[in-house]
Amino acid sequence: MDSRHDIELSVNGDTHRISVQARRLLSDALREDCGLTGTHVGCEHGVCGACTVLIDGRPARACLTYAMQMEGHEITTIEGLGGTDGYSPLQQAMQDEHGLQCGFCTPGILVTFEAYLRDNPDPTEDEIRDVLSGNLCRCTGYENIVAAVKKAAAGMRGEPE
C-alpha cells in the first residue's frame, strides 16, 4: 500500500511526472498532483458525474479510475476545453442560456457533451436528456443546460441562431 510509483500522466497535452500510491484516484492525482482543480469530486462513487474527464476522448469517472491506469492514455479535463481565445461553443452557450448556477457540476457536464456533440452533432432533446442523466445538478433543474447543448449543437453545425 505504501510503495509509490513514478508515472507520467498526459493531461490536456502536457506531461506530468508524478509519484503515486497504487490506490491513488485519478481525481486526486489531477487535482492535487497536477494542480488541475477544475475537475470536481461530488460523490466518490460514480453517480454524480462531477468528476467526469475524457480518457482518449471518451467520458469517464475520474473518481472510479486509478491514476496508475492512465499511463499511455490521453486525459482531457475542463482546463483543456476552449481555445486560447476563450470559450468553446458549448461554454459560450452555457453562459448564454444560464446553464449553470453554483458551477460545481459544470465541468463534468461540459466534458461529457464536448465528446458527445463531436459524435452526435444533431441530438434530439430526449437524447440530450438521456446523456445528461449521468450528471446530477442540484441548482438548475436541467432545462437551461439542455437548451445550451441544443444551441451549441446548432452553432457547431453552422446553423444560424
Binding site: 500500500m1 505504501d2 500510491q21 490506490r23 491513488r24 486526486d28 487535482r31 494542480g35 488541475l36 482543480t37 477544475g38 475537475t39 470536481h40 469530486v41 461530488g42 460523490c43 466518490e44 462513487h45 453517480v47 454524480c48 462531477a50 479535463t77 475542463i78 482546463e79 476545453l81 476552449g82 476563450g86 470559450y87 461554454q91 452555457m94 453562459q95 448564454d96 444560464h98 449553470l100 448556477q101 453554483c102 458551477g103 460545481f104 457540476c105 459544470t106 465541468p107 461540459l110 440530450i128 436528456r129 438521456d130 445528461l132 442523466s133 449521468g134 450528471n135 446530477l136 445538478c137 442540484r138 441548482c139 438548475t140 433543474g141 436541467y142 432545462e143 437551461n144 443546460i145 439542455v146
Partner: protein
Amino acid sequence: MTVDSEDFTEIGKPLPRREDRRLLTGQGRFVDDIAIPGALHAVFVRSPHGHARIREIDTVEALELDGVVGVFTGKDLNAWTNPLRLAPPIEGLLPTKMTTLPEGKVRFHGDPVACVLAVDPYTAEDAAERVAVTYDTLEAVTDAAAALAPDAPRVDDDLESNLVSRQSFSAGAPAARRREAHAVVEAEFHQHRQTHAPMETRGCVAVWDEGRKHLTMHIGTQIPHPLRGQLAGRLGLSESQVTVVSPDIGGGFGQKIALYREELVIAALTRHLKRSVRWREDRLENLMAASHARENTCRTRASVDRSGRILGLEFEITEDFGAYCFYPANYMSRVVAMILTGPYRIRDYAYEVKVALTNKCGSGPMRAPMAITSWVMDGTIDAIARQLGLDPVEVRRVNMLSPADFPHTMPTGEVLEDISPAETFEAAVKAVDVSAIRRRQGATCDDGRLIGLGFCTVVESTTYGSHFYKSAGIAGSGHEAAWVRIEPSGAVNASVGLMGSGQGYETPLAQAVAEGLGVGTDDVRVHMGHTDIAPYGMGSRGSRGATAGGGTLYLCARKAQERVLTIAAAVLGLNSADTASLRLRDRRVQRRIDDAWQDTELTLRDVARTAYLDPTALPEGVPPGLDVAMTYDPPPMTYSNATHACIVAIETATGRVVIERYLVAEDCGTVLNPVVVRGQQQGAIAMGLSGALFEEVVYDASGQNMSATFADYLLATACELPNFEILHMNTPSRQTPAGIKGMAEGGVMGAIGAVTNAVNDALAPLGVVANRQPLSPQYIRGLIRSAENTKNPRRHGS
C-alpha cells in the same frame, strides 16, 4: 419609499452572470481547491449505531500508523471549546446544550466521536478504521410518534422528554365554527425526511497564525459574519482574532448556515497544534451526518359551508427534528403555522406545533424551510372539493383573497400586501385550459394512464426583517449592511454581508449598486464572503438576498450618489441645494436644464479625484474620500406569490408519475436580473419535484441510515424533470427599496403541492388519496392496488 421601476436603467436587465467565466473554464475556487502547504488532513470516526453509550475509545493502533499526527476525542475537544447552548426566550421551547464531540453517548448513526489527523487523506482514512470504539447500544427512537410515547428512550439525557418544543395559538373561535359548519373536512399530510445534497459537500481549511494569534477559516458558508461570531465564541477567541473567508460555494440550500461540530473541531485542532488542518467530507458523510430537513406530519380540520367556504381551520404539525438542535426547534414548523392560511380568507384559526427529538441526524432549514405550507393549504382545499363534490377551481375562488382585501392581516397577525394571488391563480387556470383536461379525464381511457391536474397557490414569506424575528420570539436580526466605495480613479467597489452559494449574486447586486449610483453595471464590483472586507451582515438565508442585500446596496449607492452630486454642485459653482437638478448617469454628472438632462463637463472620475486628492476644494462639511456605508432593516416580511399548475399522467401498471406539463404564474415584484430570477424559479421547482417524487432519507428501526449514497438517495435527473413554463407578473413592494421582494424558495412550496394535488386528481376516480411523499411508483402502485382490491376483491384478493 416608492420608486417608479419604469425608470430603471440597470435593474431589470437580463445580464449574463459574472461568475460564469471562471466556473465554465475550470477556474472556480472552491474550498478544496485552495492549496495550503503542509496542511494536515482530518477524517472523522463516526458512530455505527443510532443510539449507544460510548464505553471506550482505543486509539493505539491508529496512532501506530506512519503519517498519523493524532487522534482526538470528545474529552480533548470539549476541554478546548465551549458548548453550544440554545436557550432563546421562546415559550414552550426546552433549552438545549451540545458539546463539540459527544463523550457519554452517541445519538445517531454518523455522530462523530473522534477526529484523526494525518499527513494525507488516505492515511487518515486508514487510521480512522483502526480507531476501536466500544459501545453499549441503546434502544433508538426513529420517528416522532415513538419519540413522544410515554416512557420512550430519551434522545437528550438532559431533557425531561423528547418533546423539545410545543406552541399553540388560536384566533377567533374555530371550535364554534366547527359546530356551525355544513361539513368538517379532515386531511393529513406526511412529508418525509430529505437532505440538501449540495453537489459540493461540507469542508473547511483552518489556518492558525501563532505570531498574531489569529485564526483564518476558509469555509463555504452562507453567513460569514454570524459564523465568525460562533467560531470565536466556541473557541474563546475575540471576533477580532477570527477571519472567515468563503470562496465559491457548490450549493448550500440552507445546509451551509450552522457551525457544525466537525468544522469547530478543525478550528480547535489547528489552534491546538499550530498547524493548518483541512477537512473535506465525503458524500456518505454528507448524506448521513450533515443536516437533514423537512420530516413532519400535518393534520388540518376545515369547517366549511355548502359552497366550500372555509369558516374555520385547525392545524397540527409534528416535526421529527433528529438528535441535535443546531437551531431552535420551533424554527421551521412555527413559520409553517404562522403563514398557513396564505392566499385564503380565513379568520378563525388555531394551530398546535410539536417538535420531537429522535435518533436521527439533526434537522435544519432547507430551501423553503416552510415547504409543506402550500401543499397543506391547497391540499386541504382539494380535500374540501372532493368531500363536497365541488370543483376544486371554484372552491379556490370562493376562498381566495381578492385585490380589495389587501392589506390583509392573517389570523396570526402577519400582514399581506402588494401581492396578487387571485391574478396568478386565474392566469394559471387560463393557461392550462381546465375544461380540455376534464374532457380528457372523462373520455374512456384505455391506455393504462390516469390524467390529473393540480394547482397550488403560494404565498412565500421572504426577507424576514428584525421585527419578524422579534414577533416570532426568535433571537436574531434581519438587517443587512453594505458599503460603496468610489476609488480615486472612479472605479466602484461595493460590499455586503451576504454570501451566495451559486445563485449568481455578483451580477444582480452590481446592478442594484449601478442603479443607485448612476453608473453602468460593468463599472461595479461587489465583494462578498470575507469578514475583514465585508461589513457585518446577517448573510444569505430566507430569500433575503434581493431585498435585504440588494436593497441595502441600492440605498447605500443612492447615498453615495448624493455625496458625489454635493461635490459636483460645488465644483460647478452651484448652490449646494441644487443637487436636485443634478444626477449621475452612466458615470457623467448631468444637469436638468429646461426639463432635459444635459451632460456637464464633470465625470465621476473628476469628482473622485477631487474627493481624494484635492479635499480642500470640497464644500464645507463634506469629508474627504468617497466611502459610504449604511445598514438597513427591511420590513418584517415581504411576500411574493405564485400559482403552480401541474398535469401528470400516472401509469396504472407501474405507479410511475410522469409530469406532462408544468407552469407557474409568479409575482416577485421588481426583478434585479431576470436571468438569475428565472434560474432560481427553475431550480426551486426542480428541488421541490425531486423531493416530492424521489428523494427520501430512510432509517431502519434500529436507527441505521439506509440511504447514504446517491444510488439510494435519489436526486431527479434530466430525464425526470420537465421544462417549466413561467408567466411573469409584477407587483412591486411599496415597502422596500426599488420595490424588491424575495423569491427562490416558493418554487419548492408550489411544486410539492401542485404535483401531489395533480396525483390526487388523477387518483380521485379510484377513491384513494396520496397523503404522503415521496410519490414513488411503489407507493402509488400500492394505492391503485388497494382500490382495485376494494372494487374487485376476488380477482385481486390473493
